[in-house]
């Protein structure tokens, strides 16, 4: 078996908020996480709101450095796909597509090469030259999704709310994600929907209160998660 692209050993992360002079509030969002990301796999991370899923993604994306434990990277380019990253509402869809692609890791040349594909996929038509502030929220989301989908990276990190727009675009975007995910691309997908994880992932990890509750086969994990969340209600 090839070695993991990212391995986490006993990773912990604590948020500290300054609530006044000399007083700090602490909140531990991740506790001793052990996790290996293998090349080519699609890993699903599931958990309720505030369980630490998004913090884990940000740690993986190197936005946050963990306070405890260590992370080893063998992947060169890891991209956290945020929809509408760095969008400036006063600029056109075209400009925003370029800017957002570059913020997600593309060079100017790559961004220019991809822009027509991005704009075609987003189905914005003549609106691509209009400022983004004139867009409906659906149009904005479509543009954001198209930019994110066209990114190339060794590891793609995707946070929830994947399918966007109206029913037709939703189906199209879902299909595009499946294509992306079933290729040799390494993907980490965060969601609180068991159904979505089931459809897309090879393996799943269930996180609650910053700790891994269970990890293993997708169906088993999502079933346990579903049972636990119905019990709670």
């Amino acid at each position: 078996m090839s070695s993991p692209l990212i391995s986490l050993t006993d990773v912990g992360f604590t948020y500290r908020t300054l609530s006044g002079l000399f007083s700090i509030e602490k909140y531990q969002a991740l506790k001793s996480i052990n996790l290996d990301i293998n090349p080519g796999e699609t890993l699903g991370i599931i958990g309720s709101n505030g369980s630490g899923k998004s913090t884990l993604l940000k740690v993986l994306a190197r936005i946050y450095k963990p306070d405890e434990g260590k992370i080893e990277y063998r992947a060169k380019k890891i991209s956290l796909l945020s929809l509408a990253l760095g969008f400036d509402a006063r600029l056109s869809g075209f400009d925003n597509a370029i800017l957002s692609s570059m913020l997600l890791g593309a060079t100017l040349k790559e961004a220019k090469e991809r822009v027509s594909g991005i704009l075609d996929f987003s189905e914005l038509g003549e609106f691509t030259s209009h400022p983004v502030r004139t867009y409906s929220s659906g149009m904005r989301a479509r543009l954001g999704f198209s930019v994110a989908l066209n990114m190339k990276a060794d590891v793609l990190l995707i946070d929830e709310a994947l399918a966007v727009g109206d029913a037709k675009f939703k189906a199209k975007s879902e299909k595009a994600i499946v294509e992306r995910v079933t290729s040799s691309q390494t993907v980490i997908l965060v969601s609180h929907s068991g159904a979505q994880i089931n459809r897309l992932c090879d393996r799943a990890v269930w996180i609650e209160k910053g700790e891994i509750v269970f990890s293993g086969e997708t169906e088993v994990v999502t079933k346990m998660y579903a049972e636990a969340s119905t019990k709670k209600h």
Binding site: I63, K65, S82, L85, L91, M102, L103, P131
Partner: protein, 266 residues
């Protein structure tokens, strides 16, 4: 990390600067869409400011002699560039929290974008200044080419100070107020409204010239008004100290990157 980490580093540096340039261009474009006259304000705003000094000091007050307005403009134009860039970049990392929370960007990105935006607009202001001086009968000479190294030195100084303030403000945002007060104090110590040679005691002049902005303004006036060589030794000192300081500050930003991220997101 890998065997080709050198090309990796080069690619990252290239991508970083490309992103700075694109962000500057797009921010300027975005700013221009906010007003009806868009890019025309790059000329109109400084023109109105200079016009005010002309009306107040040349038509109404008629003080300080014939040369007072050119003298004032040669001081205030570089000063406003410095003050604006330092002030705007002091909040740049805190204001960049939207990007900081979603993607990894080296922290110098944020002050550099602010400095870049101001630098582009400053070109127009310097051209207007030259136009004003021409109107006042100052004939351009070869000495005016000294303006290029002076402007570059000032830019290096701005980068150094901007890196410092953008680094410290996230630690205590209250410092923002101190920076404003400090800039105000520095303005009065930079000899914008007075000639240090006629106002200051001889024993105080050396201390006055240790203020880099005061020193640069003296050089601007020597070149533009007297047509002489500037204080070249001072320029070299200011430029090299600024480069060294910028280097140290970018090291500090890299070392404390994680702390700055957390502070910006608080």
């Amino acid at each position: 990390m890998t065997e080709n980490s050198e090309t990796q580093v080069f690619q990252n540096v290239f991508r970083f600067w490309q992103l700075v340039f694109i962000k500057v261009r797009f921010n300027l474009r975005s700013e221009a869409t906010q007003s009806y006259l868009s890019y025309a304000w790059w000329i109109l705003e400084p023109l109105m400011q200079m016009g005010v000094y002309y009306i107040v000091f040349d038509i109404f007050l008629r003080r300080g002699g014939e040369d007072f307005v050119p003298f004032l403009l040669c001081g205030i134009v570089p000063w406003l560039w410095f003050a604006r860039s330092v002030n705007n970049s002091s909040r740049s990392i805190v204001q960049g929290r939207g990007l900081i929370s979603q993607t990894y960007l080296p922290k110098p990105f944020f002050p550099l974008v602010v400095i870049g935006q101001d630098l582009v607009k400053q070109h127009v202001v310097f051209l207007l200044l030259i136009g004003f001086l021409f109107y006042y009968g100052y004939v351009p000479s070869a000495e005016w080419l000294w303006l290029i190294p002076i402007v570059i030195t000032q830019l290096l100084l701005i980068v150094a100070v901007a890196f410092l303030v953008s680094f410290i403000v996230p630690f205590a945002r209250d410092l923002q107020y101190l920076i404003n007060a400090g800039l105000m104090m520095m303005m009065f110590g930079s000899g914008i409204f007075y000639s240090y040679e006629s106002v200051l005691l001889p024993e105080h002049r050396e201390i006055f010239l240790m203020n880099p902005m005061a020193n640069l303004i003296v050089s601007y006036r020597m070149v533009l008004m007297d047509g002489t060589e500037p204080l070249t030794n001072s320029l070299a000192v200011i430029a090299s100290v600024s480069i060294l300081f910028t280097f140290l500050m970018s090291k500090a930003m890299k070392r404390h990157n994680n702390t700055l991220t957390r502070l910006a997101l608080e």
